[in-house]
């Protein structure tokens, strides 16, 4: 990217959404989609007392509604759509057995409307093609709300001989700057990026009119910043709108399928083997517990240049769309620890003894006083990361990050920092060498991996040429639970199969 191109990017960002070029929102009448949406809402309402019993049907039906909202291509190019419809019909049959009369009626209608919505072409597609022909194929790009939608549209356009730049999921930043970008779906299903850093001089959103939320997301940063972007919109309606008027909760909600998260147990004091974690749904039908104490987790950014794709990230900032690098069946830190100890050579035993001394002193304080009292006491000592204390007892966690925290902790435990700190630092240095080696091996493995496949598919296995690092996967985070749970420390960061993750993608 040269300076002139950078200049163009900023100039584009400052014009898109201004009064001379507002973001166009085109709401297209879609009878089949509106009926499906109505049935899904009725079912949600009817089973709101115990939605978990209806999870399979609800998840599958919401997934079909999501695809109706985001996939403009004809049925023929809807990837896995018939499989999804079969699942809905199957779940409808199962549900009828236990449902009361009213719920049975809703389920029958849902099955019927799901079939129509899965088989009828989406009227948004027709408007999209007309608009592309009108402006000229060379001067526009099309942005989709998911990698699946982008792949389906690509196949559809290929069959029409239509050569148009297509972006989907996270690939949009690589698009060339065009006169016009057509986005399929309402603004709420896209993030902020395509408007805040646009790749077109004008942006239009096409979506079925039963999607009521026409607000633009706006970042907190833009709201506070000097020169903060504040794009305006103009709404157009295409076709007769048959659906009834919306209630406010219909307007603000998001249509993206969310898992039915288990609710946390009533709050209680954690015992020494438990940590606070959130459930995370992963591509490939898996889920895992992710600890929430400010530790780091390895992530992959497939769009960065080679050598700069693997990073460590604060686990609390993991969000849908992030690619995580995980070791199947065990956490990465165990293997990393083993390698660090090996790197220490003859001094390994004095380091592990010294580490064991302060860790066992801390562990016994935690056992005797309890987690809460230990954290409070450390806070009083001025230990900034005191809430991480329960983690510091694990052999794989080398030491508190800040020197001042570590020295205050050792003082509180009555230990001599002059011995403990240098030993911990030796281990930290070895660990950082081991981590660098892992990062290099990951980058090497990524060179041999089809990253386009990863972006499309959401997960891929990486073959690392490194002992103790077999079975590494890169997988996209699909959803993060809003609830925090207390889970056994040994259960975190282990990806295991989860049926409910299946209909999220």
């Amino acid at each position: 990217v040269n300076l002139a191109e950078v200049d163009t990017l900023y100039a584009t960002a400052s014009t898109v959404g201004q009064l001379t070029a507002p973001i166009e929102l085109v709401a297209v009448s879609d009878i089949e989609g509106a009926r499906l949406d109505g049935s899904v809402r009725q079912l949600e309402h009817a089973v709101q007392e115990n939605p978990e019993h209806w999870a399979d049907l609800l998840m599958a039906a919401r997934q079909l509604r999501w695809r109706r909202a985001t996939e403009p291509q004809p049925t023929l190019y809807g990837i896995d759509r018939s499989e999804l419809l079969r699942e809905i019909i199957h779940q409808c049959k199962r549900g009828r057995i236990v449902a009361d009369t009213e719920t049975s009626r809703i389920i029958d209608e849902l099955g019927h409307h799901a079939e129509s919505a899965a088989l009828a072409d989406n009227p948004v597609g027709e408007i999209l093609i007309e608009s592309i022909e009108e402006i000229g194929r060379k001067d526009c790009s099309v942005l989709l709300g998911s990698a699946r939608a982008a792949e389906g549209v690509r196949q559809w356009f290929d069959s029409l001989g239509l050569r148009v730049d297509i972006g989907g999921g996270r690939g949009y930043a690589n698009l060339q700057i065009k006169d016009q970008c057509y986005c399929v779906g309402n603004p709420a299903i896209f993030g902020l990026a395509h408007i805040a850093a646009p790749r077109a001089h004008a942006i239009s959103h096409f979506f079925p009119s039963w999607l009521r939320n026409t607000s633009l997301p706006r970042s907190e940063f833009s709201r506070l910043a000097r020169g903060g972007l504040d794009p305006s919109t103009r709404i157009y309606h295409v076709g007769e709108d048959a659906s009834s008027s919306a209630t406010p909760e219909h307007i603000s909600e998001t249509i993206r399928p969310e898992p039915l998260w288990p609710l946390p147990a009533p709050s209680r004091v954690a015992n020494s083997d438990e940590v606070i974690a959130r459930q995370v749904m992963l591509s490939g039908g898996r889920s895992m517990w992710l600890d929430q104490d400010g530790g780091w987790i390895r992530i992959l950014d497939p769009l960065q240049p080679a050598g700069d794709r693997v990073h460590l990230r604060d686990e609390r900032t993991v969000a849908p769309g992030t690619f995580l690098i995980l070791r199947e069946g065990a956490t990465e830190s165990d293997a990393l620890y083993a390698r660090s100890i090996a790197l220490l050579g003859p001094s390994a035993s004095s380091v592990t003894d010294s580490q064991a001394a302060w860790k066992s002193a801390l562990a016994s304080k935690l056992r005797i006083l309890g987690q809460h009292a230990v954290v409070t006491a450390l806070e009083c000592e001025g230990v900034r990361a005191a809430s991480r204390a329960p983690f510091w007892t694990a052999p794989t966690v080398v030491r508190p990050q800040a020197d001042s925290d570590f020295i205050r902790l050792l003082g509180w435990l009555g230990l001599n920092p002059d011995v403990v700190v240098p030993n911990a630092n030796r281990l930290r240095k070895a660990r950082s060498q081991a981590a660098t080696r892992v990062r290099e091996a990951l980058e090497d493995a990524l060179d041999r991996t089809d990253l386009d496949y990863l972006l499309r598919q959401g997960h891929v296995r990486l073959d690392l040429d490194l002992e103790g690092f077999a079975g590494i996967i890169a997988t996209r985070v699909l959803a993060v639970s809003p609830h925090q749970h207390l889970v056994p420390r040994n259960d975190v960061r282990i990806a295991s199969p989860d049926r409910t993750a299946k209909w999220l993608e």
Partner: protein
């Protein structure tokens, strides 16, 4: 000589922002990534500090958004 200025470019650098102790820090946030951790880190730090947008005598090119704040170390 003491380091006077740190420049953090992109999300993976900006995660270090709370740890940096130079008198001046410039964090360059890329709006084209879906990753919102970088602006979140900056805003979190700003909440504990004081805005100095009025003192900043810099008028960036159109399209650039800027925030200036001071925190105690």
């Amino acid at each position: 000589m003491e380091t006077e200025l740190t420049i953090l470019d992109g999300a993976s650098a900006i995660r270090w922002l709370p740890e940096i102790t130079t008198p001046l820090v410039i964090a360059v946030i890329d709006r084209s990534t879906a990753d919102e951790s970088a602006p979140a880190t900056a805003l979190q730090l700003r909440a504990s500090g004081q805005s100095i947008d009025d003192l900043l005598d810099w008028h960036p090119t159109t399209g650039i958004e800027s925030l200036a704040f001071r925190v105690s170390l």
